[in-house]
């Protein structure tokens, strides 16, 4: 999540109203105020709105939302006359480049902090941790155009940011903190991406680190922006967001020539949308004029285009507008979520419970009636609990997670009884008797089915007690069953039985083996049962 720090002073200056008014309405454009400090607020914005990841961007949106300045913000872009070349060898490495010249920057601490935070947030939200897009900001007056984006030997040396001595690019991956963080993006390439000026001075080694030479300070007046990546659309959006934010802060934007094209243009894109479709979707009736008015609050340009259509100009910094409905959501936000007449639709339908859940409910009612407490153990467990502690063979059908989060949670349960015994272990110092059950999904191979497991522990828990419970449960479930001597090693020989339905084993019950009790650190006898609920007549068999 992107949490952006909004300085009250800077925000008020850019928005043109007081902080209280801004913060009161801010959540209603889609944000969450995390905390309010004496001089700033930390606010979380959604990943689809990277244009709000700076004080400048937030001020622009809030001026519209509060009616201070509405409609499409316009940005003038003059050609800088500067050219940027791209080395064709970068094709398989990091082919996309965006750039701009940003002049007349007046960096004070607040605007520097805002732009640095914007850069970091864009790396995360648009750049996917710099792999898709990485952004470099340089002091233009330290280098000489034209600039060249090249594929360089890994042995090339320069002084990286925050270092005093030259390192090879290979060494940077091991020795520079940023190198270590992002090495995995470039490690396997034979040549590394590098940006140099016309006199072979290094500006940056994207996506890893800038050179010390072009460091931006409070004295910087003019900026060279480089944005590199693997996706041209994402690179373009990052350039647009940074340039328009800097323009909001008073800078002048100039374009750069890349592959014979002037970029960026910062011009809006256009969409023709249907007014009636919008009204149907959000459930409010609006005229084309009213809809245009609402969109101008969200900083779109919008004019009725006849025949119930609206011509919408989408600002160049809106990364999220992929579909007409994305525009309709902005209409709803401008209308105000608090102003909708919330009402359920009159559709008549009959509720239907799912048979699996109905059966689970029946099983619960039976066990609760027998005085058992329901437990809700995890479905993730490990082979030590599932098989080893039970004295059972590990099953080849147990599903293992590829990247488990802990040794406790390595596989999906194939059985519930071991997990209920674990519950007894957790509660071994609590008062006896304890009678617990759990029912739910188990998975063997890829087949999901439902099981029931129940345990009773106290000084006199024995075969007869659990036999009585088995008989009650199966009778209530309408299952005709037989029992036979079981060979399950989790139970004591001679005090264990399989539950047979139509000649097939569906469950087991008896007294838990002392070795198993030991494994779960239990000191009192435990009588237990487990039952595959596929034994129930009419049960859905997957």
């Amino acid at each position: 999540m992107a949490i952006i720090s909004l300085s009250y002073k800077y925000l008020e200056r850019l928005t043109g109203t007081d902080t209280e008014t801004i913060l009161e309405r801010l959540p209603m454009i889609g944000s969450e105020i995390e905390r309010m400090e004496a001089d700033h607020a930390d606010v979380e914005f959604f990943p689809d709105r990277p244009d709000l990841f700076s004080v400048e961007g937030v001020a622009r949106a809030m001026r519209g939302f509060l009616g201070i300045e509405m409609g499409l913000p316009r940005y003038n872009v003059k050609p800088s006359g500067i050219r940027f070349t791209i080395d064709p060898q970068l094709a398989g490495i990091r082919p996309c480049l965006g750039s701009a010249i940003i002049r007349n920057v007046t960096f004070d601490d607040e605007s520097i902090l805002s732009i640095m935070a914007l850069q970091e947030a864009l790396h995360w939200a648009v750049g996917r941790g710099r792999s898709k897009v990485a952004i470099g900001i340089h002091d233009l007056d330290t280098v000489k155009p034209p600039f060249h984006y090249i594929a360089s030997p890994r042995s090339r040396t320069f002084v990286p940011l925050d270092f005093q001595k030259e390192l090879t690019m290979d060494e940077m991956l091991a020795e520079h903190p940023k190198g270590r963080d992002y090495a995995k993006i470039v490690r396997d390439f034979p040549l590394f991406p590098l940006i140099i000026d016309d006199e072979d001075h290094v500006c940056s080694f994207p996506p890893i680190i800038n050179g010390e030479l072009t460091r931006v300070t409070t004295k910087t007046k003019n900026i060279l922006l480089d944005t590199t990546g693997t996706d041209q659309k994402a690179v373009g959006i990052a350039v647009n967001i940074i340039c328009t934010a800097m323009a909001e802060a008073g800078a002048a934007i100039e374009s750069v020539e890349i592959n014979g094209e002037q970029t960026p243009s910062l011009a809006p894109t256009e969409r023709i949308v249907d007014v009636a479709e919008c009204c149907r979707l959000i459930g409010v009736s609006l005229t084309a004029q009213e809809m245009a008015q609402l969109l101008s609050r969200m900083r779109f340009g919008a004019k009725p285009a006849g025949k119930g259509k609206l011509r919408v100009q989408v600002p160049c910094f809106r990364a999220d507008i992929m579909h007409d409905w994305d525009i309709f959501e902005d209409v709803a936000i401008a209308y105000g979520y608090e102003n909708f007449a919330a009402e359920i639709s009159p559709t008549f339908t009959i509720g239907r419970a799912h048979p699996v859940m109905v059966l689970a409910g029946t099983v619960r009612a039976i066990l609760e009636g027998l005085g058992y407490l329901e437990m809700m153990p995890f479905t993730l467990t490990n082979e030590r609990v599932l098989s080893d502690a039970m004295g059972r063979e590990r099953s080849p059908g147990t599903l293992a997670l590829m990247h488990p989060i802990s040794e406790e949670h390595m596989v999906v349960r194939t059985d519930i009884l071991p997990l209920i015994l674990e519950m007894l272990q957790v509660n071994r110092h609590r008062e006896l008797p304890q009678r617990l059950f759990a029912t739910g999904d188990v998975i063997t191979s890829r087949t999901t089915s439902q099981r029931l497991a129940a345990v009773s522990t106290h000084g006199a828990a024995d075969f007869s007690e659990v036999y009585g419970v088995v008989d009650a449960v199966l009778r209530e479930l309408g299952i005709a069953y037989a029992v036979q001597e079981s060979g399950d090693p989790a139970f004591i020989e001679g005090r264990r039985a399989d539950i047979l339905v139509d000649g097939k084993v569906y469950g087991v019950f008896g007294e838990i083996h002392p070795a198993v009790l030991n494994a779960f650190e239990l000191e009192h006898p435990v009588a237990a049962l487990e039952l595959d609920l596929r034994a129930v007549p009419g049960c859905l068999v997957p």
Binding site: R280, F328, M376, P377, P404, D441
Partner: protein, 258 residues
């Protein structure tokens, strides 16, 4: 909650914990490079599932927006990535499959089930938890009705004060985050909701809008039971169960004039 939704005329959905990435992510228009799909957030299994019929329409949707006004995500959509099996990260994977099987309106359905996220265990996070999800698909339903369903549902649970804030979810547009008022805590977030994007519904010939909302059931349990540590739900102290009243009555619906 199950009782409330059955009373409100919803059909219950139940389905597999193991899902293909196709149904868990791709069908919900999550881009293939979305961070939530990474190994550090999702439990993957060393197993693959074949793609369902009609997968090409979904590929087109991702690559260029198919026949809708969408631009799609661009880039190439990888069939191998879509075939990987995961432990479902939300029950929405079941909702979309229910709609694919029942594309004609009206559909009102819900699901309450275990979902999985690769999170370290702490008092408010567990790698598995219960999620509830409801969907309404019908002619003429709109965002206004979605807000209506949310108010009705939370009201029946005893949360009378509900308000709405804009939100973002990859598969809904518009999106909304309901907040409920809890005595002693103030306004708290309670799940998310929205209307399924066309990129989600059009590949399956679902022609009417789909209202959808979801919430963490465990979170409600925390408020209702005054629970400070989620782990207690799954690794319960028997003394806690024995002494915690679970069935505290909520005011009957009629008395609130609903």
């Amino acid at each position: 909650m199950r009782g409330i939704l059955l009373e409100m005329g919803f059909t219950e959905i139940y389905g597999d914990i193991i899902q293909s990435s196709f149904w868990n992510f791709d069908a919900l228009f999550q881009p293939q490079d979305h961070p939530a799909r990474e190994m550090q957030d999702t439990f993957y299994l060393r197993d693959e599932m074949p793609l369902p019929q009609g997968w090409e329409r979904l590929r087109d949707m991702h690559e260029h927006g198919g026949e809708t006004s969408s631009t799609g995500w661009g880039g190439r959509w990888d069939t191998r990535k879509a075939q990987q099996c995961v432990l479902r990260t939300h029950t929405t994977s079941l909702s979309i499959q229910h709609l694919v099987a029942h594309p004609d309106p009206p559909v009102k359905a819900f699901c309450i089930g275990r979902v999985y996220r690769r999170e370290e265990i702490d008092p408010t996070h567990t790698p598995e938890f219960e999620q509830l999800e409801g969907i309404v698909m019908d002619k003429g339903v709109s965002f206004r009705h979605l807000l209506g369903y949310l108010k009705e549902f939370y009201g029946r649970m005893g949360f009378e004060d509900v308000r709405f804030r804009p939100a973002y979810f990859p598969y809904t547009e518009p999106s909304v985050e309901p907040e409920i008022y809890v005595d002693g805590l103030g306004w708290v977030e309670m799940g998310g909701a929205g209307i399924f994007r066309e990129e989600v519904t059009v590949p399956w010939n679902i022609k009417e809008p789909v209202l959808a909302w979801g919430l963490g059931v465990s979170r409600v349990a925390m408020f209702r039971l005054g629970l400070k540590d989620l782990r207690l739900l799954y690794r319960s102290d028997i003394d806690w169960i024995r002494t915690t009243p679970v069935l505290r009555p909520v005011k009957p619906v009629q008395e609130r004039g609903a």
